[in-house]
Every structure is written in C-alpha cells, then in structure tokens.
C-alpha cells in the first residue's frame, strides 16, 4: 500500500510526510522480504504435501491395480474352464425338456437345460480337448494359437479383455494358455489340464514405484520391462499376476453312490465300502479284484437333493438301524435321515454336481449293426474296435425279443481288448444262470432305454473289474426306467442313469455290486453290498472339471 501511495503521489505534500517517506520505504522492504519468505515456506510445505500425497496416491493405485490383476487372472482361468466344460454336453433335440416332470429346479440353482446329453469331448472336432490331443506345435487351431516355442501342444486362447469402469485403467486383460498335464489320459483314464492365466492391469501415472520399499518384493510391478529379456519393452507400467490351476476331470464314477433325488439304504445289512484296483496286492487282490480284508473307506455317498415328482426334497436315508457307509456323505442342504453311527467319514450339506443326461445313441449319427440273435450263447469279438471307432451293435428287433435283450441261462461272451457299444432300445434281463462275460481288457458300453433286471444268479461282467464297463440309462428325463439287481446277481461296472430308479435287493448269499451308481433314486434293501473301485474316479466319461490345484506365481526369482 505504501509503495502504491508513493507511486501515485511522487511529490511530498508536506515536509513531515516527506521526512516519513524513507522510514516507510524501509518498512516496505521488510514486508516484501517477510512475505516472500512466508510464501516460500508455504510453497515448500505445499510442495512437500503434494509430493507425499502423490506418492501415497500412486502407491494406493498400484496396490489396487495389483489386486485387480489377480481378478483378471482369475477371470482368465474361469474362461478357460468354461471352454473346457463347453464340449462336455450337447443339446439333444429328441428330448423335449419342457415335458420333463421328474425334477424341480426350485431347490437347485444353476440347473442347466434338461435336454443336454453327455458327449466325449475328445471326439468333438474343434473342442479344446480335441485340439490338444490331435494338434502339434505350429498347427492352426480355432481355439487360439499353438506356439512353436514348446515341444508339446499348448494352446494360447485369444486375449481376454475385461472392461473396467471407474478410476484407474479402463481395461484389464488376461492371457490364458491351456495344455494337458503330462502322463494323464492314458489307459482309459481322463486327461487333466493345466491352465495358466496372466492378468494384466495398466498402472496410471508415471512409471515409478510407490515409496513403500517392502511393497516391491510382493507386488513386483513392471515399469519398463515385462521380464522376458526383451529390454525396456513396456510403454505403460503394469501390474501383472500369474496363476496356474490344474483342472481335474470329474468322471461319472467319482462317487460310490450318487442319487440325484435321494438315496435309501434300508437297513444295517447294507454295506458300502471301497477298494483300489490300481494298487493290487495292497488295497485289492493281485488281479485288482475286491478283497474284503483290504477294503478301504473311500466310498462316498452323495446327492443333489433335487425334489422328486411329488415335490418333496431328496434325502439320504440310512434307516433306523444304520447302513454302513465306509466313506463320506454329502447332501445339498438336506440333513441325513436315520442312524449315522455307521458312517466312517464326514457328513456335510454343501454338495452339488450337475448331471447331464446320458448319451443318446439315437442322435449320435453313427451306424449300428444288428445285434445277433439271443437264442443261444452270443460271442462278440472287440479286437477291431477302437475308442474313436468302436464296434456298434443295436438290438433292433431282428432277434427273438424285439428290441429287448433277454438272457436266460445263456451267455453273452465278449472277447478281445477293443471297444464295443451295445444299444438296447428295449429292456435287458439277465437271469437264471445267464451271464455277460467281459474280459478285463475290453471296454464295453451299454445303452439301455427300457427296464433292466439282473436277477437269480445273473451276472453282468463276470470279471468283476468295473472300470471298463459303462451302463447308460435312458437319456430322457421324463422316462420311468427302472434298473434292478436282485438275488445272487452280480453286477460290475459304472451305472450312469440320472433319469432312472435303481433298486438292489441283495437277498442272496453271494451277489454284490462292484463299481458305482449314478441314478435319480437309489434303493438298497436286504444285504446289498456295493464295493466301490476308487479307480473309477479317473475312468469313464467326464461330466465336469474341478480345480484340483491353485497356485499364484510370486516366486522371488533373484
């Protein structure tokens, strides 16, 4: 103000005022210096605050982006899992899902369409599984690229971009590669898959680390290079996280008993136990068959608890005397009924597994040869059958029993070590002293749409090795198929009939079931025994993939 006054009034008006001017000039200079010093101090404080806030802001954003990178990687892994699961089923137009009256979806979320039938993904051209099995490095795949930098087939899926709305980056990404775990998928077992997913999130702001020194070892943010040895190849700083999951196939024989709508084990003489044919001499006989003294306790009994036609929820009932279950029991939110004191493992209520319908041989688009007459012993050699081109026979009405197959004191002898499929549109009965003899090396698949009775001394699979015998029930959810094993009858194999009712009346002295059962309802009475072969958990058709191993690579490299 005084400087301004002097400028506007350069000539002193009075002597007194003139004499006061030098003093005023000195005071003005002091004020200016004081103001400048004050401003400087304030500016330094402001700058310091700004720098600190900027560092904090950057550190927080980097931390948030680092978290987002894991989300991106997880999304990528789930994307690959979806791609693996997709070819496990297909829509069967011959099944009218809307007419299905067997189940209710009220208790089961995520129940997919009921006109989905099971297919073998290895036989679906264009599927991820098919390409991984058939193609070689450098080949062209519709699923992605197959780099030549590896000696084995590894498919890199198209980069997954994930839009993001909000602060920070507007787009995350995930690069996913899938390959088969070595030494899986051999000898009839299912292939395991390795999924590696790299989630990337660009970092906002300058390419500089936050001020928290300990963060760097954990988060390993990439500012100039992505660590591939290509020099400073990044134009944008990024947070990167890598996860690897192993997808384990869930086969149709993964549980001893799987009742879609419930299981009734009617008394304490019902015994469910297990053995492992892959460990002969230890948990089974030398030839891989069951041995009571070497039995194990891995026979799990599970249910989806899906409501029956009456609307009541499914349940596992062990009876008031308590059936013996040498394994775990799992339900879908419904408590187990009856005496559980003979259950060796845990009882939980958190289980659900989607069950597609069995394969429909009528819509496979393959040629079926007429099944030989069933009047006497029948011999079928499987030697020329392969997994991709098995021998196929259909009971088509040219035999004595129309579209049904009835064995009464005669035998069906299957020989050789190849693959064979038998479609029985009608029913199947094996009674008296009849038997279906299957050698250990043959892989046999039955498709039976009608009623099944194995009674008397009837035997289905005299080798009692269940791993290579699969018994598919009716694919239509509206069917009323029943499957019975009674008397001294033996059955060895995997029954996959989620639309059918299975009854076992073990009234005889020697009959038993070896293998596993998936059915709509399962009823065991009398002295029924089921010996579950743990090898079935890795054999047979695949209905799902489950994460068996999860790892995030955060290794301290150097």
């Amino acid at each position: 103000m005084k400087i301004q006054s002097r400028l506007h009034n350069p000539t002193p008006i009075t002597a007194g005022r003139f004499l006061m001017t030098p003093c005023a000039r000195r005071e003005s200079g002091s004020t200016l210096i004081a103001a400048l010093v004050t401003l400087t101090v304030l500016a330094l404080i402001a700058a310091s605050t700004f720098l600190t806030v900027t560092h904090r802001y950057r550190a927080n954003f980097q931390t948030a982006s680092w978290h987002d990178a894991l989300t991106s990687a997880e999304d990528g892994a789930q994307y690959a899992l979806v791609r693996l699961r997709s070819p496990l089923t297909k829509t069967d137009p011959s099944i009218n899902a809307s007419s299905s009256s067997t189940t209710s979806t009220t208790t089961t979320p995520n129940t997919p369409n009921q006109n989905q039938v099971l297919v073998d993904p290895d036989l679906v051209p264009g599927s991820l599984q098919y390409d991984l099995a058939k193609l070689k490095p450098g080949d062209i795949s519709t699923n992605g690229t197959i780099p030549t930098t590896f000696s084995y087939t590894r498919i890199q899926l198209p980069t997954l971009t994930i839009p993001h709305i909000g602060q920070g980056s507007s787009q995350f990404s995930a690069v996913v590669t899938v390959d088969a775990v070595p030494n899986t998928g051999l000898n009839g077992s299912s292939t395991w898959y390795r999924i590696q997913s790299v989630g990337t999130v660009p970092l906002p702001g300058n390419a500089s680390a936050g001020i928290q020194k300990y963060d760097n070892l954990l988060r390993k943010l990439q500012f100039r290079s992505n660590g591939t040895g290509a020099g400073n190849n990044l134009t944008t700083a990024q947070a990167v996280r890598t996860i690897e999951i192993i997808a384990k196939p869930v086969s149709i024989g993964s549980a001893a008993l799987f009742g879609k709508s419930g299981i009734n084990l009617n008394n304490k003489n019902v015994v469910i136990d297990s053995y492992d044919s892959r460990n002969p001499g230890v948990t089974s006989n030398a030839d891989g068959t069951y041995n009571a003294s070497k039995a194990t306790k891995s026979a799990n009994v599970v249910t989806d608890d899906i409501a029956s036609a009456s609307g009541s929820p499914g349940v596992i009932n062990l009876s008031s005397t308590g059936a013996y279950v040498n394994g775990n029991i799992a339900t879908n939110d419904t408590p187990v009924k009856g005496d559980t004191s003979h259950v060796s493992g845990t009882i939980t209520e958190d289980f659900f597994q989607y069950l597609p319908n069995p394969p429909d041989p009528g819509t496979m688009g393959v040629t079926w040869a007429s099944f030989p007459s069933a009047s006497g012993n029948i011999n079928l050699d499987t030697t020329t059958g392969t997994k991709t081109a098995p021998l196929r026979y259909k009971v088509d009405g040219t035999g004595n029993n129309g579209t049904s197959l009835g064995l009464q004191n005669n035998e069906l002898n299957i020989t050789g070590n190849g693959y064979i499929e038998i479609w029985i549109p009608g029913g199947l009965s094996v009674n008296g002293n009849a038997a279906i003899n299957i050698p250990n090396g043959a892989t046999v698949t039955f498709y039976v749409d009608g009623k099944v009775d194995i009674t008397g001394n009837g035997v289905l699979n005299s080798s009692t090795i269940p791993g290579r015998v699969t018994f598919y029930g009716n694919p239509d959810p509206a069917s009323s198929q029943s499957i019975s094993v009674a008397g001294n009858a033996d059955f060895a194999g995997i029954i996959y009939a989620p639309n059918s009712d299975v009854n076992a009346q073990g009234g005889g002295n020697s009959g038993a079931i070896y293998g596993s059962i998936v059915a709509k309802t399962i009823f065991f009475n009398g002295g029924t025994t089921l010996h579950y072969d743990q090898a079935l958990g890795d054999l047979g058709a695949v209905i799902d993939y489950r994460i068996s191993s999860w790892y995030e690579d955060n290794t301290l490299v150097r």
Binding site: R56, L218, T348, Y551
Partner: protein, 243 residues
Amino acid sequence: MKMRTSISRHQSAMTIIEMIVATGVFSVAMAAMIGASIALQTSFSATDDYFTAEGDQLRVMDYFNTDLRRALAVQKDSNTVSYTPPGGAATTYSYAIGDSKATKYFTMVIPNYRDLTDRTLTTSPLTVNMPKVSSDNKVDYGQPIVVCYYLSGSSLYRAEVNPNLPSSDTRNNPRSIADNVSDFNVSDPSFVKNPLTTQTFVQVSATFAPKYSRKGWAAALSSNTDSRVGTTLGSKVQLRNVF
C-alpha cells in the same frame, strides 16, 4: 529546523511502552506461528505415518492371503508343518529360525512351481516344474517350499525356503515385510454347518502398533494397550489346495 529535529527524533525511536507492546505482540504472533507450524508438522507426520501403517497393513494381509490361497498345508503357532505329499507318507517340514528374538511362528508349505536352480539366466526363469498327477489323484509339483512367518521385536518376517536351492542362497533368507507389528493370529473358525468338504477357510489377522497415536504408542509396542484398538486387520482366506 526545530520542527524537523523534533519530527526526526519522534520517528527514529520508540518509547519503552511501545517496545514492550511491540515485543509482546511479536512474541505472541511468533508463538502462534511456531505453534501452528509444529501442529502442522505433527499432523502431517501423523498423516504420513497413518498411510504408512495402512500400507503395512495391506501388505501384510496381501502376503498372508497370497500364501494361504496356494498353501498345501498350514500350521499355526509353530515353525513346523505336517504335510502328506501325493502318493507319500506324512512328512514334517520345518523352518530353522535363526533369530533369537523370534516370538511367534506361522508355517506352511506351498507348491514348488519354478525351477530356480539356474541363476545364470538374465531374466525370470521360464522353467517351471511340470506338475504330475499321483496315483491317488493329487497334483504333485515335487518337494514343497516352506514358508514361515515370524515376529521379531516389532517386525514381521517372512522366509521362503526352496529345497532345490543351497541353504546359503540369499533367496532363502528371511525378509522383513512390515514394521510396528505387535501380534498376528491364525485361526480355523468353526462354521454354522459342518466343515466344508472341498474347501477349508482360515481366518488371519495382524495387530499393528500405530505411530500416529500421539499417546502411548511406544508402550503399545510391548503391551496390550487401548491405543491399538482399531488397528487389527483380519481376513478369511480359502485354502484352495487343502481338501
């Protein structure tokens, strides 16, 4: 002239009263300014410490979560952990803590994912240990890596011991991951329903002694005082490989 002299004398000096008043005003002003500066500095420092503490807390939780998610077996309150390798028998893995001040432990084993034995590589080793599937249908990455957390004084340490590396390898050395930590806990919470069959969850928490509390923060480092209330962080983590 008289007038000029008179005026000059009047202007060039101050009375003792004026000096006292001026000095008083100046002192009050300076005291206020210094006080404000100290308060500002203290507040700024406290804010800085607050964010540092927050960063520490996030980092510790992130370390715990990252390791627990991929753990094969976890043992609280111990520097040993029992784990049954795929197809093998139960084995005890331990971390030899060389820190005499260590007071609390928390140990786990994680998959041995990368082959780190070749240090001549100038970039991150691309070699990974290819997983195998054992006869009992479990994924096997080979002999696992032992990870141990322990508290030494007010610092939380993490050690990651790779069995394929020589013990003298610096990558096996423990590293401090946060300061001002007074405690941490790992618990296996009970569930309303029976334990889950396919997943297991654990609850993990860490308690920090905040510097930004102007009262009693020093005591908080060594005793359980109210100044730590509100600085315990926890999370529930799914052990994705333990089932």
